[in-house]
Symmetry: C3
Subunit: 343 residues, 3 copies
């Protein structure tokens, strides 16, 4: 029998099953430096040990999305090797900062399956949790993917579609232990705006753009040990290599520094859709919309809920859908997340 | 009002003003590894903890130009976001080695302004200082840039042009504390030549060349958190992305190892001009000219003043200017610096 | 006299001479992160401190091939700057894991010379040893290269062709001190197969492919401080930049995870040939053949001898040579190595 991993097909998932993903990963300053070389990340909290200390931590943790990508990457061989599409995210919560030297593992529980009416594919829902070497959960999120059936005659499973919250409740957001924005240095963070300066409904064009090269997205995707063929092998897919959706998330998030420099720490991932494929040569820009603001129960620490949209120049800032209600072809990503910000 | 940074215009600078630049940055072995992947850097002092120990330090510091790029990058949002051109450098002094774990911040004092006769632009002179987490200055240099006016009818300021030294005096160079070349290992450094083997006026063709790719210069420029649009966004400028001038400095400096392997530690930046734009696809070569040599007051440690010229193959080694006195089109960089070398 | 290194020519090598290579190098988590960004490396032993601890070590060492590339890179200025071709490897043994913070140096003993009948080139055999800062050898291997003569009238030296083993004897393989596979976690390593599951003669197609970009192989090659011009300067060679053979070795080895995830630790390099040039744009795939299996004398630790073949899609998996006995044009690498695997 073949020793290589063919990936799982739709009929291979059973609701309630827990999959322990392989290859734990220890992260270091190397991953951080690469993250900062791959994306124009400038959040002071993740850039400077001193700034993080002024915020109550003993050192700067690794960028929140490094944890996300590392955990996501581990799930690929078990969840999305035969995926047709990554359909959505929900109920994402960042539970604990990840520090240099931490080792992350990941496991996923299958929480829903629904065969499509064409009988050839189905949707699989998993809740994925990342855990550090102390057994502490650092991150948890739901994602659902469309997966091919391996055997078309496999019986359709009972449909289970999990009930998922539209957004993480502000009261469920986890503020990192010890976080204290009372000594927050707005000169060092790069912008003067605090939570009270943003209004729900406010939109911000982040102005800058980055044109993506093949080498960059492949370096990034390999760094997360994400092995999906479509990202690496030009012969695998007509039209060339697809860019890992997470690359666009990190790129857009980094671009959003310009206007949201104090939305320092991602703590919730409410929803997200990769609405059009991104390819090398695309120039990515970003805009944000303030969806909500909240207190966190920790003095001085507020939360801002943001829509983050990544788009090519062909889509204007703030344009999202056409008259038909569909996403415009130039829109790449529609993400909904919570970040911590000084009140 | 917009929350994004539009950058400063010429009329926004006042002589005497001190600008504290945002986003402190902690550096690690990750930045060093990337530096060595981006440039063919081989200086033994920065490559090996053991070699650095044999030279009296407790470990290898980060490459001198990592400090320069990190500090420079911090200044971009405040100094050169609306710059038309980076005109020059002077009075640069490296004051203290930067070690793994150090956090750098940067501040700039405006030391001169001069509106151009066209009324549309002006030259701004700043003295920029990089500081570590202990408040110790690690680097200081003057640069001047041509900046657009935002309001063409803004009154011209009184002209102040700072008096700048043609070169840092050898007596002002700072030798890192504890540096001792008495146990210098010429076999490990890669070349046998000591300061006495070089003559003023001697020219060295460094032979090797490197063809630059888009991904490389963008990785580098982001690593320094330099956000100038022209380097990243192919839609921003006819003709494509410009390469950050500092990328060419580091590339040429690394190439100069071949013939100057013992010019280990940059301690002074006397002058520098990016004389023609560099673009991806360009092959960069380098040659050097010995401008001066000096003692430093520290036993065994000499200083060599070098002109470092980066050029494309279309310019011959040692060719610099045409008959009209202008730099040849194939010349990219004309840099004048001091380095420490065993006597 | 020129201060730059022209490299050595065939007549410059004398059997018995020991060359101490320049530029010691301290390795950190930065090099590891870059290695994992450049290659789809997922071996759990090198990815996770926790996994390595479960295998009896105090932390994850740096990937075995990082040590190889670092040592190899140091030899280039002295051995292969004027090489026409890298002809082969033999008797390679990995003697000690390399850890973060270790500093490597390299030396080579000339063990054979043989002038070619054309009188213009010759073959030089060297045994290269890499050593850490404690003076412990970490790696030793023989390679032979074809080198140009500098002076065609230089007398041909007495021919000395060393007797080289076809393969390292299993009894000569060095198991890292303390290695213990009794707690080996097959769920975390990514595959269930142990040594007993493989049969001599078994072939495995590793399925995945990676299309190489110029920026990637140049980043990698510089990281190892390998300065051979052909890899960097597009004007240096008709047809463009050649990819460093070691880049293909690491790429193929990383791809072989899919089917050989538990062949964790390379301990022997029996033979290797870069049989066709690899260029940017090539898509690299890999297959393996089990050549032998052995016990190591350490409880639970077995050794597997593998042929690893890297190829472009134009060559089918398991195809190696044409009817004429020559390697097929789509084959890039034919490598023969030993790895440690749980019994």
């Amino acid at each position: 029998m073949s020793k290589t991993n063919p990936g799982r097909f739709f009929e291979d998932y059973t609701v309630g099953e827990v999959i322990e993903h392989a290859v734990p990963r220890t992260l270091s300053g190397g991953e951080r430096a690469l993250y900062h070389a791959l994306y124009p990340a400038r959040g002071a909290f993740y850039s400077s040990d001193e700034f993080a200390r002024d915020c109550g931590l003993h050192e700067a943790p690794l960028d929140d999305l490094i944890a996300f990508h590392t955990v996501f990457g581990k799930t690929v061989p078990d969840i999305s090797l035969n995926a047709v599409a990554n359909l959505g995210y929900a109920e994402g919560r960042f539970l604990k900062p990840v520090h240099l030297g931490d080792t992350l593992t990941a496991r996923s529980e299958v929480i829903g399956v629904k065969q499509n009416s064409n009988g050839k594919t189905g949707v699989v829902y998993v809740r994925t949790t990342g855990t550090n070497q102390l057994g502490e959960d650092v991150l948890s999120y739901v994602r659902w993917v469309m997966v091919r059936k391996g055997k078309l005659d496999a019986a359709a499973p009972d449909t289970v579609v999990p009930e998922l919250a539209d957004a993480v409740a502000a009261s469920d957001l986890v503020v990192p232990e010890g976080l204290d924005f009372s000594g927050y240095n707005f000169a060092q963070s790069g912008e003067p705006h605090r939570l009270g300066d943003y209004e729900v409904g406010e939109k911000i064009d982040h102005v800058d753009g980055v044109t993506i090269e093949e080498a960059e997205h492949m370096l990034a995707t390999r760094l997360w040990q994400n092995t999906a063929k479509v990202h690496f092998d030009v012969t695998n897919r007509e039209g060339g290599r697809l860019i890992y959706g997470g690359h666009v998330i990190s790129l857009a998030r980094a671009l959003s520094f310009n206007g949201l420099a104090n939305a320092q720490i991602i703590v919730g991932l409410n929803a997200g859709a990769h609405v059009n494929p991104c390819m090398a040569g695309d120039t990515v820009r970003a805009w944000s919309e303030v969806l909500d603001t909240a207190e966190t129960g920790v003095d001085g620490v507020g939360a801002i809920r943001l829509r983050l949209v990544a788009h090519r120049p062909e889509a204007e800032p703030f344009a999202l859908r056409g008259e038909d209600g569909k996403y415009l072809p130039g829109v790449l990503l529609d993400l909904d997340y919570w970040a911590l910000m000084p009140l």
